[in-house]
Amino acid sequence: MADAIGLPATYRHLVGARIRGQLQYRLSFGLYVVAQFLAAFADLLAVLVVFNRVPVLRGWSIEEVLYLYGTSQVAFTAADLFLSQVDKCAVHIRQGTFDQLLCRPLGPLFQLSTIEFELRRGGKVLQALLVMGIAAANLPVPWTAGRVVVTLTTIASAFVIFGGLWVITSSVAFWTVGSTEVANAFTYGGGFLTQYPFDVFSSWLRRILLLVPVACVSYLPAAWVLDRPDAYDFPAWARLSSPAAAIATTLVARAVWRTAIRHYRSTGS
């Protein structure tokens, strides 16, 4: 068929419509983007202030921490931009509009990520890319093909892991409406933790972070790229386990989301 419409085209049009709709409120949109961009720097500032007091943080230099911060932030803000909208399912369930999503020939996750797209979150992605650029230019070790590949796969895997965490925590809304705050503690909280070298955390927190799997998001691969020992004393292969963690998170998220939808379809809202 000449004009068969593929999913990418549907995605483009739905996101485009969302952006056009939001641009109706131009001033509010503009202010928000600027605020997000600046707020993201406040975040970075906190890291820099620490280094103003101490030259090295548990053995991590500022260049190393910037690399860690950059990789984790690029992945986190991209996931925030493209996937975090799934937590809007709580609003749709409460207002009864989730039913309509189920009446259309597209998956509810696909629909949520398009119709609730927030372009204004792009401000943070820009900031993260900027930091990543600075970190890449000041990397204390030479850029080899291996380090480039690991950095790119780490970012991609971290993006998937954050997306999965968002889907899992959003699913809670199907059982208890009004659970967004709890969910945010895991997603935004988890994102925050990945900005720091895990050496600064106490051992019990480190263990928990391994479970969630935010340790795989950037800390372990960063330790590999920067040629440093990690706080877990893991062998090299374990430090490169991000793609495996991404696949595992995806499978868990998929199972949880399906259970949630099944629950919704048997109980209603």
């Binding site: 739905l14 419509a17 109706q24 009864g96 509009t97 009446c103 259309r104």
Partner: protein
């Protein structure tokens, strides 16, 4: 073959009710209780019942939103429980108090976007948009943001949106709720024409019995999740309202007319109300009998309204 089939379908909800400080008790409610129903292609069925009777729950099971707790559902031969996504392409849904249009964008954009959601071929989509815009006189509204449309205007947009992918079945959950008389009439005329021209099967829930009377060929009534009535409108009237009333205006005040089998229920000056059984007498015969003895100015035949009929049905159930 039937397009909608329900065989002994039930839906049970479980709630938790607090008893004491921590203990909770499971409470089961049957929203739909053993409904068997079969709808043929091209029918327009009014699905009515008091609030909480189970109407919306039934529609949700027919769209695949809810999974039944018991019984079998088939819609266009598909099991909504298993083939929900495939089914969405064959059905159109309008929820009267929700919108499926893009609120901040011109109405035209919603129609364009739905082409991408349902992946309708460009030609077919253009033809459909043109046809509906014409029928519902949407032309002047196309460039206005949906949020600026009146409820009646928006409903016309919703109907179009639900039909652009050529569904076999159209579900309408209170499509005329909150509309003024003119908008209601327009919606009804449109639905009648869509049913006739395109053969779309229509299942609608409503509290407006004029909808039922003017649109539907068949009436299904449920109460407390159970089917209490399923028949054609004519049959319902015959069964539950066997009497018709003839209002006659005589040239001057007169004592109640005496005609065998006809009862005078009210006299108001020269105007008299005569009640007769629809199977025993025809209106023509009654009029002829009166005209033979008395001079007539005007006559009207009053059919019992469906509202009265429904009250009867609820009362009996």
């Amino acid at each position: 073959m039937a397009v909608i089939e329900l065989d002994d379908v039930s839906k049970e909800f479980v709630h938790h009710r607090k008893i004491g400080r921590l203990r909770r008790e499971r409470v089961r409610t049957r929203a739909v209780d053993g409904i068997t129903l079969s709808i043929e292609p091209g029918e327009v069925v009014g699905y009515i019942g008091p609030n909480g009777a189970g109407k919306s729950t039934t529609i949700k099971m027919l769209t695949g939103i809810l999974v039944p707790s018991g019984g079998d559902v088939r819609v266009v031969g598909l099991d909504p429980q298993v083939n929900r996504l495939a089914l969405t392409r064959r059905i159109g849904v309008v929820f009267g108090h929700r919108t499926q249009l893009w609120w901040d964008l011109p109405l035209r954009d919603s129609f364009d976007l739905l082409r991408y959601v349902y992946r309708v071929p460009a030609d077919r989509h253009r033809q459909n948009v043109e046809a509906f815009v014409d029928l519902l006189e949407l032309g002047p509204l196309l460039d206005r943001p949906v949020r600026q449309l009146s409820l009646g205007e928006r409903m016309r947009g919703e109907l179009t949106a639900a039909l652009l992918h050529d569904p076999t079945i159209l579900y309408l959950d209170e499509p005329t709720i909150g509309l003024d008389i003119v908008s209601k009439t327009r919606v009804r005329e449109f639905l009648t024409s869509v049913n006739r021209e395109r053969g779309v099967t229509v299942l609608l829930t409503t509290h407006d019995l004029d909808d039922v009377e003017q649109l539907c060929s068949r009436l299904v009534v449920i109460d407390h999740g159970k089917l209490v009535l399923d028949s054609t409108i004519d049959e319902v009237k015959r069964r539950y309202a066997p009497h018709r009333t003839l209002v006659v205006d005589l040239t001057e005040s007169a004592p109640p007319l005496e005609i065998p089998g006809v009862e005078v229920t009210r006299v108001d000056g020269p105007r008299q109300w005569l009640r007769f059984h629809r199977d025993e007498h025809t209106a023509a015969a009654v009029i002829a009998r009166i005209a033979a003895t008395t001079a007539l100015v005007d006559i009207t035949v009053v059919e019992p309204d469906i509202e009265e009929v429904i009250r009867h049905v609820y009362g009996a159930a």
